[in-house]
């Protein structure tokens, strides 16, 4: 086995293993966590990691940090999954239609997509979030509103190229209806790209959500979101490093595992795709 192949497989296994671990930790958070993430205990406030009963220590209100980090994983994955599903559905359908129809509404749509892409993603999501209002539902909506464009562009490009392929031309010449052509022949050939884009976008959505919550928009305290936990930790950086270290490490680990998984998916499904 060549060194390059071995390295690729190592990355793939690492990605799958870490992703499964993060998903299990998030799914089993209520059972794994030693305490309620919202339960305060002023007698034990700011205990360092390794204190009895609090493996990762506690925050300024005595809330258990391990419980908060684990519940944060639930929230992050929930937001990531919702956003990816919404953006993939909306952007995918729009891209499919824009690539298949090729009339002026589609061209106009893609121009608008270009305009939106010319704006920094995080700044756009943050601005929308600040305007429509804070909270869990609105952060999912604003991330989706900022993120659908990538799918629309990738899917449209794929559709345009699949349409030129011989088997589609042949099916069309045989008199297959356009709708059937779309669902039988074009859609199945576009799905791999959608999966790859989704996996690569997932971690950027999670990190963007944390960044937006960190800046004071998005998910608000006391809900245990990694971003708002990091934001609160800034006031205690001189006395309690663990409040900043662990939620951020959890976020980085999650982003790392999903990135590795996404790289592997791209290499196997669609090696030419650049996102």
């Amino acid at each position: 086995m060549s060194a390059a192949l071995r390295r690729c497989q190592l990355k793939a296994w690492l990605g799958i293993g870490l992703t499964v671990a993060v998903v299990v930790a998030a799914g089993a958070a209520p059972w794994l966590a030693p305490h309620d993430p919202l339960a305060t205990d002023f007698a034990a406030s700011l205990s360092p990691p390794g204190s009895p009963g609090h493996p990762l220590g506690t925050d300024q209100l005595g809330r258990d940090l391990l419980a908060r980090v684990l519940h944060g994983a639930r929230l992050a994955l929930f937001i990531g999954v919702c956003t990816v599903v919404i953006t993939a559905a909306v952007g995918g359908v729009l891209g499919l239609v824009a690539g298949f129809v090729e009339r002026w509404p589609a061209a106009l749509l893609m121009r608008l997509a270009d305009v939106q892409l010319s704006f920094p993603f995080i700044l756009l999501a943050m601005t929308i979030n600040a305007i429509v209002g804070l909270g869990l539902r609105n952060i999912i909506l604003s991330l989706s509103a900022a993120g659908w464009v990538v799918y629309a562009r990738v899917v449209r490009g794929e559709v345009l190229s699949v349409k030129q392929r011989d088997f589609v031309q042949a099916a069309s010449a045989l008199g297959m209806s356009r709708l059937r052509l779309l669902f039988r022949h074009v859609l199945p050939n576009v799905v791999p790209s959608i999966i790859v884009v989704a996996s690569l976008q997932f971690s950027s959505f999670i990190v963007a959500e944390a960044a937006i919550s960190f800046l004071g928009f998005g998910v608000q305290p006391p809900t245990p979101a990694w971003g708002s936990m990091l934001s609160e930790s800034r006031d205690f950086l001189y006395v309690a490093w663990w409040l900043a270290a662990f939620p951020g490490a959890a976020l980085a680990l999650t982003a790392l595992s999903v990135n590795l998984l996404g790289d592997w998916l791209r290499d196997t499904l669609d090696p030419k795709l650049r996102v």
Binding site: S118, F119, I128, L230, R234, L237, A244, G248, A255, N259
Partner: protein, 305 residues
């Protein structure tokens, strides 16, 4: 060439106009900024007077027409908080953001490009593997967490660097590292694959066969030819750098455009938000135009239309 630049400039105007319209509509549909900005115990007639003065009592189309007429002349109204011209406030902050962005871009080019080239040239050696680990980790590390950890190590523990603000060179170190980190990881990965592509080309074989030294083969023949994808990504990432600046400036209390925008959003000071949107979209499209013009210089085969 000139026709191309002109049509791109026309596109820039369209992009800026559409972004401003979108933000204006969202702001007006989201509710009354006046109430959020007034003290709790204010009288109803004062609210009304304030609203009258700022023109919030007119129908939305009238407000929009007035906004467009002002925006064309660079007038986005007065900041609700600072009581000063909004565009002026934004432009005042622009040099600080440029300084930060330029420093981190320089840092990226000095670290990421050599790292990518070394990885490609020494492909599948321990050096290459180490490079891959560093870039994969760098890509997964969120900038604001890196910032907090740097502050903890270098300001709180070692007391070498200030936690934030401006002043000497020392203030610039951590913000530019944080801003460069994510960017560098992507540029290094791309440089590696771009250099690998070029190294397989026949003119590289020719260059080696005619006995050129390896430094010359890499430095002259390879680097120039792998520059196009690197410059493209750098241009595309320029917008993400502006986005990253928002977070970096907030962590390190750097008085730039990003921090001003965050504060304006938190205060619902919308004249500043609109002026910032205007400046960001202009800057971003101009950067991309510059990147397009660079292609022609890097690769004379590219003809711009």
């Amino acid at each position: 060439m000139r026709a191309y630049a002109l049509s791109r400039l026309a596109q820039t105007v369209l992009v800026v106009f559409l972004s401003l319209t979108a933000v204006f509509m969202m702001v007006r549909l989201s509710g009354d900024p006046v109430l959020l900005f007034m003290p709790m115990d204010i009288q109803a007639k004062d609210v009304n007077e304030f609203r009258q003065r700022l023109g919030f009592n007119d129908p939305v189309p009238v407000q929009y027409a007035r906004f467009v007429a002002g925006a064309v002349r660079g007038d986005f109204g007065e900041s609700l908080r600072y009581r000063r011209d909004a565009l002026g406030l934004v432009l005042e902050r622009l040099p600080a953001t440029f300084l930060l962005a330029a420093t981190s871009l320089l840092l990226t080019m000095c670290v990421a490009v050599p790292l990518g080239v070394l990885s490609a040239v020494h492909r599948n050696t321990p050096l290459d593997h180490a490079g891959t680990v560093v870039t994969v980790l760098g890509q997964a590390t969120p900038g604001f967490w890196l910032g907090l950890m740097l502050i903890y190590v270098f300001s709180v523990r070692l007391r070498w660097l200030p936690t934030g603000g401006t002043g000497g060179l020392a203030h610039l170190v951590m913000p530019s590292i944080v801003l460069a980190a994510f960017f560098s990881a992507r540029i290094a990965r791309l440089t590696r694959s771009a250099v690998l592509d070029v190294l397989g080309a026949e003119y590289i074989l020719t260059a080696r066969a005619k006995g050129l030294r390896e430094t010359r083969v890499i430095g002259k023949h390879t680097l120039r030819n792998s520059a196009i994808p690197i410059v493209t990504l750098a241009g595309l990432e320029a917008g993400q750098v502006l986005g990253g600046a928002v977070i970096t400036e907030t962590i390190f209390a750097w008085p730039g455009l990003g921090r001003l925008t965050v504060q304006a959003l938190l205060n619902r000071d919308f004249p500043i938000v609109l002026a910032a949107v205007f400046v960001v979209s202009v800057v971003y499209t101009l950067i991309n135009l510059t990147v397009d013009l660079l292609y022609g210089w890097l690769d004379p085969r590219v003809r711009l239309r």
